[in-house]
Symmetry: D2
Subunit: 306 residues, 4 copies
Amino acid sequence: VSSTAASTSLSLRGVFPPIPTPFDRAGEVDERVLASNLARWDGYDLAGYVVLGSNGEAVYLSQAEKVRVLQVARAAIPAGKLLIAGTGCESTRQTIELTRQAAEIGADAALVVTPHFFTVTPEGLVRHYAAVADASPLPVIVYNVPKFTHLDLDAATIARIAAHPNVVGLKDSGGNITKLGDTVRQAGAGFQVLAGSAGFFFAALALGAVGGVLALANIAPQACIDIYRLFRAGEWARAAELQRLMIPVNAAVTARYGVAGLKAAMDMLGYRGGPVRSPLLDLGADDRQALREILAAGGLLGEETP
Amino acid sequence: VSSTAASTSLSLRGVFPPIPTPFDRAGEVDERVLASNLARWDGYDLAGYVVLGSNGEAVYLSQAEKVRVLQVARAAIPAGKLLIAGTGCESTRQTIELTRQAAEIGADAALVVTPHFFTVTPEGLVRHYAAVADASPLPVIVYNVPKFTHLDLDAATIARIAAHPNVVGLKDSGGNITKLGDTVRQAGAGFQVLAGSAGFFFAALALGAVGGVLALANIAPQACIDIYRLFRAGEWARAAELQRLMIPVNAAVTARYGVAGLKAAMDMLGYRGGPVRSPLLDLGADDRQALREILAAGGLLGEETP
Amino acid sequence: VSSTAASTSLSLRGVFPPIPTPFDRAGEVDERVLASNLARWDGYDLAGYVVLGSNGEAVYLSQAEKVRVLQVARAAIPAGKLLIAGTGCESTRQTIELTRQAAEIGADAALVVTPHFFTVTPEGLVRHYAAVADASPLPVIVYNVPKFTHLDLDAATIARIAAHPNVVGLKDSGGNITKLGDTVRQAGAGFQVLAGSAGFFFAALALGAVGGVLALANIAPQACIDIYRLFRAGEWARAAELQRLMIPVNAAVTARYGVAGLKAAMDMLGYRGGPVRSPLLDLGADDRQALREILAAGGLLGEETP
Amino acid sequence: VSSTAASTSLSLRGVFPPIPTPFDRAGEVDERVLASNLARWDGYDLAGYVVLGSNGEAVYLSQAEKVRVLQVARAAIPAGKLLIAGTGCESTRQTIELTRQAAEIGADAALVVTPHFFTVTPEGLVRHYAAVADASPLPVIVYNVPKFTHLDLDAATIARIAAHPNVVGLKDSGGNITKLGDTVRQAGAGFQVLAGSAGFFFAALALGAVGGVLALANIAPQACIDIYRLFRAGEWARAAELQRLMIPVNAAVTARYGVAGLKAAMDMLGYRGGPVRSPLLDLGADDRQALREILAAGGLLGEETP
């Protein structure tokens, strides 16, 4: 009962960076850097943060590390901004357990990636999300990221999952804008769709998304916020123009170089990205130089201060 | 020389239906019906027609049939509207031959699908299009349709192909809106990108496309034209609203039921679709009923008259 | 009636090279070279030849060229060896027409690749093959080559197709040996399965295949024949040993370099391969050198004489 | 030093079932049933067991559960049979930690699945396995299972990984028998390849594999052992005949019904499979009946007693 009440009042409007998890030279979670990055992002008008998402290298963290990262993030994130915790695991019971821990720590919502090791049927997925949503004290956001999971939820299955009152939204990183529009329609009013990549942020907003979880917002928060604000202000043409400008930058820090590229870009832009965990590899010197040129071409070097 | 001059002045702005090829009960091309359908479409403000595209079942036509269909279409299409002829074949020499025939018949441009039986390298594709564009009396439009070809041209390769002065544009049916935006940027001013499906028509326009080759325009030309006009008039929010309404209709006549669905819808809407060629199968009674309901929900039944 | 009688008596046992189509420097079919290559292969104990298969660049030939290639091949192939003609086209009617032409020319069987541009349903495929088999004066062999068609017939669908009395076999190039074994079982006695690549020739024979259509047999016919003979003689361990030796050679002339690699290898081994047709590209100097080394390592250079 | 010595003396010859993890009705690991299943399998001449593999639903177990399952298995497995522990995790450090725990518990080897959430480069994979092999007190077996990981190691990358002296073998579940033969050749003498599915067990042995990790061995151990023994005895034709008989049974308990089918089959054959963990679903009544008929057709019902 209370969970439903909570969920219906949670707005996912706006821009959310899915923040990386910083590691020190010994490979341990660097809590101080995590807090300092959050303090820096706090100068922007972001709606909140996704912690322990794909870009957070959540699959490389132990359960204890996940809990600790959420605690540090909770302490660093001010009350007016959301903490969305990535709590999806392969099994339903693991997911429920971590979601409950996130709730105790004070997260505002749970982002639950689709299970993907085994090929789960649509019926299995619907039951999985229903069980998680039943047990979760937090509103649940479905996370569809076919690039990593090799599973692409269709609009009809999403609509079935969305029928649960404690499932409040979807982060869709697939980039199929037609499906995104159809999902908005089929899932109905009140279900909040978030673009999962800055590459199609404007298009998603135009087709009914309410916001975005954008890796680009880690390094270019103002540009992402501007796209959102221009859109909300009805200045769609200007929003689209800014969108086009950001596509190559976003491609570099997501598709081309992945988390290592995002962290390297943070290092170049006043944040602290630091190393990735193995088996990912840090960027080599040539890739760093290429990345630097892309950031410069996108107007980001030396300019991004709140 | 003249071809370059011609190409730079050819505008691809607006909406183009990729028209089906009608067959009679004996399975032969029905020239009379082809002409009558064109006459009906001519009541709308379409920019022109794609003849012998995927929806034209071009892969099921003999060379002689292709020539005849182009001749009939040329006779039926008024001077102010473009005839874009699908002339892409697997080999460079076949493509050049058909393109020259299309030029003799009076087509305005050639739509050249990527060769796809063998896995051709990017270098091979660049040389293929350069050879075709060199030999073609018509401006060349690249046609990327990964659903059928299982080949998805990336933006960098498209930009290389676009460097030829007689390659004037791209029809992209892939639906990756991020890549479409990047293609517009990388290919540069003057290169005209066309959305290849109504599902992402508005998004494509917002990211720099100049028009669309839309199967939906065969059965709902006015809705497609309205999206385009509202966009051009700066009324983007209204355009996006209409876009969202058309997504389920478009999905039914393209992704779900394919050419057979498109032809069945035409039969329901005052055009004459008729049978598909084997190995495609005509829609069964249940699918026809489901399609009828989708058309009704989309507001198309009984209303689509010019 | 007569077609059934014919089909039940046609044996597909043994090794069949899918021969390339030679082109002269002007890009035209080189009939003289085609005949001379066949004369050279005729020194080996091959069961016959596949003409107009994938390696024959059939998709790059006009209808007139296809007919002419079959005529030349028919004249050059002695009575005791089979001429299997690739006659599969995208449409059922095109396939029937070419199959009938092949029969008139004197082919012994028709190899019919799955249609693949549109996604045809299993029911559509069953009807397609039934219609072709009904109309064909020649026994029909189904051709499954997912690498090129992006369609992989499953064992159950093959069994449905095989129920037609004039469908006598399958060439499976997919390489899923488990499925191949299951196909042999499901299709039942009398249905003849052919391995579609030398990489899994021995394994296929062990699981019930009767022979192979092997690109490798164009350049290493004796090795392929030896694998077959050793297998038939019960000397499986020696057959497997030879199989292992041929895997890298086969990989080079099929997976790595494709038709261009096969033709280049022919040029190195006393046959005449010559150029491929565009958009395929001939091998560059570096690739030719790498290929030469692979052939040398496989013991083929300077040794392959009948 | 000692790890290298150990690894070179570890033989992976023979048949290994990848055992399921039994759960009780409350969803907890059922240690008693785990031990009783192992006692029953111990009546067969199996070479050992894979514990915590894919079929062990390892991705659904907590770290504590994994440790406990290994402890129970270690106590139940007699000294003469190997305990191969699945210890692969997404990160290098997690994998090392679990591998060390497995060594302390007394496992004989570590089976390390490829990391797969992010797309790791070949270089990253080589470094990952080198780091694990450096740190592991146990010989390391690489585990390639593209059906679940959507990553298919190629022979060249496997050979690079195999160069480490503490990497002793590969379980390949991909089913590409050509690649398996090439892997045997490229990885060189001493590197032991295991078939990862009973569907291609015989073919893999013929191409140089030394044994198999076969889900089918959980329910039909004698048939799997017989294929192996007949092969080793040089009776390849009889081995292949038995192989063909087992393909449909194997398909049912792996490809068609997955872990739930394997557990249901165990329940039918005197073992105790029990329920799967969510989001997997137990078989419904219809599927159980179909499975029962497949087992009967394969001659397994009522006959499989040691």
